[in-house]
């Protein structure tokens, strides 16, 4: 089973990601067995079914957002979700950073927030600071050091609300 970085540990990735084929309806899409991250459209179409499945079968449920999805759409559902993933379909599409920031700082989401898709180790530091705590990156064993490429930062972000210049000196370092 593939591995990922979660809360600074390397753990087995025991989640499946449901992707809709072109033209496939969210209502009809077949759910895989086990923990599953579903697209926003599936969640919106089948909330009750999905929550019930989680309850009855003990399989964990999460939603994954694409870069065009508005996180406000799940702002009222956060308590029902065991994980949220944000997809980076191509390297260089940085919308996911804003999605993560909004989920953490505006909607108060505190659970697992996973970066999926075109994730490379050189961006882990930015991803962590934008609010992700879970990273589906290849070769997580060597990538994990990149979480801490910088030991200080100038601006508040989802990982800490105070700007460098306004923290007490002991914390600023």
């Amino acid at each position: 089973m593939a591995k990922l970085i979660k809360n600074r540990d390397i753990v087995a990735n025991d989640w499946k990601i449901l992707t809709l084929a072109t033209g496939e309806s969210p209502e009809a899409a077949k759910l895989p067995w086990g923990n599953v991250l579903v697209p926003l459209a599936v969640w919106q179409a089948r909330k009750w079914d999905l929550v019930q499945r989680q309850w009855e079968q003990g399989h964990l449920l999460g939603v994954w957002l694409g870069p065009q999805d508005d996180p406000a759409a799940i702002a009222g559902d956060l308590a029902d979700l065991s994980a949220i993933a944000v997809d980076f379909p191509v390297a260089g599409d940085g919308r996911g950073y804003s999605l993560a920031t909004l989920l953490r700082t505006r909607y108060g989401y505190r659970g697992e927030l996973r970066a999926i898709g075109a994730i490379e180790r050189d961006y882990l530091h930015f991803l962590r600071r934008a609010g992700f705590n879970s990273f589906a990156v290849s070769d997580p064993e060597s990538a994990i050091v990149n979480l801490d490429a910088f030991s200080a930062s100038y601006q508040p972000a989802a990982d800490g609300p105070l700007p460098l210049s306004r923290r007490p000196p002991a914390l600023a370092a």
Partner: protein, 564 residues
Amino acid sequence: MYNYTDTDRQIVRERVAQFRDQTHRHLAGELSADQFRPLRLQNGLYLEKHNPMLRIAIPYGQLSAVQLRALARVTRNYDRGVGHFSTRHNLQLNWVRLEQVPDILADLAQVDMHAIQSSGSCIRIVTTDPLAGVAPGEVADPRPWAEIFRQWSTLHPEFAALPRKFKVAFSGGPDDAASVRTHDLGFELTRDAAGEPGFRVWVGGGLGRTPILAKVVREFLPWRDLLSYAEAVLRTYNLHGRRDNLYKSRIKILVQALGIEEFTRQTEAEWSHLQGGPLTLGEAEAARVAENFAAPDYDVLSGLDVSFEFSRRFDKDFAAWVKRNTHAHRQPGYAAVTLSLKAPGQAPGDATAEQMEIAADLAERFSFGELRSTQTQNLILPDVRKRDLYKLWQAAAKAHLATATAGLLSDIVACPGGDYCSLANARSLPLAAAIQNRFGDRSELDDIGTLRLNISGCVNACGHHHVGAIGILGVDKGGQERYQITLGGSTGPRAAIGSVIGPSVAAAEVPEVVARVIGHYRSCRHPKEAFIDTVKRIGAKNFAAAAYAKEIPTIDYEREVANG
């Protein structure tokens, strides 16, 4: 100028270590060219025609003599001994070797310099007026705000992969010497009725392929809200800017597509969540940064210096230099001085390692050890006693740093062009030399007066041709280098994008076309009317007949207007 703290230094050192690791992995084949590309660009490294080009950041143009000496050292040790000062507070080295770049960055880190965010789809180096803090007319010194913005935008995690580059400028007042109107985001210092400083905020300006002047997104932003408002603008852009087409991905296109009213509505809606939040600036923080920019220890002098007036009266060459290359200063008895990088035979903005060292020496002798780099590709000594100007001029002249043409036609702004840049359609530098050659006579230049001439080697417009009173754009016409002429561009409060006056011409014809344009100006101008004012009064098209007086094939008249 801003004094680095231990934390500033630590961040720069960690960036060097990070880039060293990335470069090693790339050279070892672990990072593909495509993976390495955005990483190196965000550290100012281009892979160009002949060699990698490294763009070193000089945030808001401030340089110490110590830093300039370090730039001279890396220019000598890692390049061919010549650096190129760009139009955006950068020094570009055109002949570095990829495997040595981490060492260059490590050397620069020793003097608190770096190449962070000097390229790439991120918030670029913040720019400001090169006379900030000494210009008599400014509302307030923009440098502390530029520094606060530099810190906030450095390695910002949310805005690390914007749709496209994002350029920010701060102007000290309505004179708009930093050209906020041609930036993605611009902050113009102003005061409210109670005298509290704040900003008029401009958004959506830019040159490049589709030149557009910025619009006002907020008439008055209190200074405390600078960063939270910037975050609202950037988030709106990051989420909604186009990513499907590289040529339509700047914020100017988003602003144009939504209309400024709708863009403003979205930004203000976003800001309503952020206003008063953790990004709100406090007095202590603003004061802590501002004290770095306190005025140096000026002598108390009379505005009139007898020895200076004497020299000016009896040395015509000195007088000519004073007229063009010195600038009014808020402190009596002082002047700001342009050290020209436009000596005949030298590419605009180029400086040899020796010249950099001499400029550093001059800064220490005459200007409290500080310099500025300018948007017109020169250096400035901001704080020189008038009584020292004669000595300074003599020393600068020996190093070919005293060409008395600041602001004149031969003070040409030019990108490196086809000689170096792999994007360019045509060369810029030989053309600049040919024009400087054609207008070598000082009395003629003086008679022509203030005139900004800009050359770009392609539509990316690094030479800012759109805002040159005369703009020259290199285009590729069936494999041949051709040049399009625009007239009437300007920056500042009357900013305008120049208009194309006709068909493109061959390189050899450009100096003559310029000469005919100048001839038309001289025959049409009102007394004391500057070139740009004549163009604005009678219109750019009015110059077409004169410019093309000679028989020129008109077959390419219908060519696509490359800035359209």
